[in-house]
Subunit: 332 residues, 2 copies
């Protein structure tokens, strides 16, 4: 199987490293970063590309772009791991639509296009008879999409509840454990590299809301958008609230919940008993899927990280290779 990798950030480099380290029968025939690209239908040297990127900041030829890769390279699967733009989904959206249009499978960690244009992307993939997979968009290393699709096949999903943002969970964990104020815990999260300089996207609950939209569109029939989500962040939480929770053997977590039958699509701080499966520590993520037959199934794992996200992407790649390779309509 031949893949083209767009994006040479932490996720893209992690994917390339794992393809290099593991003997998976995957050949990389093109890579691109935001300013250069490298195309070789016989397969590029991953070591050389990673070294070039580390040394010069460019992975390849500055006269080539990511769109050149999408249009001209010889690949079966496009791996779209460029930075997320939650407003427009671009340039990832155009990369994905162009690859699908050409009858290529797509695997992505990019929340922008998947949360904004899911119906359009899914329809085009179906029309072209190819797969678009996005396990890495939600819950990092947690294979929640595989769980919904295969493990719980035949079940009706009644609700999904999740701790989907590691930054918020770290802040809440530290506020509860050490009695820190929100500001102190946020500062610590920044020092640890868990929060960005502008933490708005995380602490206002937008990031988990985007992930909730992706989850809901995966298991619900009715399409939803970010505008449908009622969002409350954690930035106004006081440590008094956490102390009160503790007195009741509870704590507070930022929970994203989708309950289609009750019209609920919400991200908000919630009081949970300390023994609740969603009460996970630090930057962990956790997702509970409530179903008609299996009851409640909870998944816990790392919500971010270069190799962890690569794990989700490689799971998607192998799924396509094992089950859909023969459905690929054309080979270049």
């Amino acid at each position: 199987m031949r893949v083209a990798v767009l994006g040479m950030g932490s996720v893209g480099r992690g994917v390339l490293q794992m393809i290099e380290e593991k003997d998976l029968g995957i050949s990389v025939t093109a890579v691109a970063d935001s300013r250069s690209a490298l195309i070789d239908k016989d397969g590029i040297s991953i070591d050389e590309v990673l070294e070039a990127k580390a040394k010069s900041g460019f992975c390849g030829d500055r006269s080539l772009t990511a769109m050149d890769v999408v249009k001209k390279a010889a690949y079966d699967v496009l791996i779209e791991v460029t930075p997320t733009n939650a407003d427009t989904g671009e340039p990832a959206l155009t990369h994905i639509l162009t690859a699908l249009e050409k009858g290529r499978h797509v695997v992505t960690s990019n929340k922008g296009p998947i949360s904004r244009e899911f119906s359009r992307i899914r329809s085009l993939a179906a029309a072209r008879g190819v797969q678009v997979r996005y396990e890495a968009t939600v819950g990092g290393a947690i294979p929640v999409m595989h769980m919904l699709e295969h493990g719980l096949a035949g079940n009706r999903v009644l609700a999904v509840f999740g701790v989907l943002n590691g930054t918020c969970n770290f802040i809440l964990t530290r506020m509860a454990a050490e009695g820190l104020t929100y500001e102190q815990a946020l500062l610590e999260a920044r020092e640890m590299g868990y929060a960005e300089a502008d933490p708005t996207y995380d602490v206002k609950g937008i990031d988990p809301a985007v992930k909730l939209v992706i989850l809901a569109n995966t298991f619900c029939r009715k399409p939803v958008t970010l505008e449908d989500v009622e969002i409350t962040g954690i930035d106004l939480l006081t440590n008094d609230a956490l102390r009160l929770a503790e007195e009741q053997h509870c704590t507070i977590r930022l929970i994203a919940e989708a309950i289609p039958d009750r019209g609920i699509l919400r991200v908000a701080p919630r009081l949970l008993p300390l023994s609740h499966p969603l009460v996970v520590e630090g930057t962990l993520n956790a997702i509970t899927i409530e179903t008609d037959m299996a009851g409640e199934i909870t998944l816990i794992g790392k919500g971010a990280g270069s190799v962890e996200t690569a794990s989700a992407i490689i799971g998607d790649l192998l799924y396509i290779r094992n089950f859909h390779a023969e459905r690929h309509p054309k080979k270049t």
Copy 2:
């Protein structure tokens, strides 16, 4: 897809009910209990069979046996859900081998044959080009086999840790929460229907050890048997031990663990911090899979129950239908 169901206990009835309730495109062409059977290549009436079983104790014709179903009925998948015999694996083992020999897929919840004769069963299935699936043997509704196979595809599994016996977990939960003695908690488990009259198989750790063998054979290359597992049950635990654990913000759980690189295959009570993901309450099961890329992924869910086990079996059936139906070598 046509299925034959062997076993009309709680699991078999649950599977039949779910096939009846859900429009899955599955036709039941034969059923058998321990003393009768019913075969109809055009599909039997599930309602009538369940009613007959409830009224008379027989699901069909007393002159027919389960082996008649295996040999003569028209089915694509054999669902083997007769009671487990952990010593011989029979009669399920013969049912499964005969169906595979005939080129039929097999789905089972039966721990006996899968824990005792895994290599033989897997080799025969491979030779005949059919699937043998056993999600329901471990962790009830938790789709751990799907997780190992698909969700974590590409990962190397370094270790598996699990709370695999709901009876023991209930007893330990009650001892910790209420300061009950082992005997008091066992009595309560019996009254709730969670423990059998002879609880040896559960409380001595044999049941979780059997499940550990199935898990280890699924993800390890080197086959293991029950004799390879070092087993300590919970029947000698005192509530002093649980009190001491509590003083350290810990509790005790019966943990099954397989760490192939260190040669560890063990079931034993273990001290865990209260915030540890494997510290689940009551009859819940939990499994942590430690991998090279995804890190630790924990799954929590109901470890038993008629509909919960049916969920695992139906997940396996749909997997076969979606991905392996076309590989079926012959249709009757």
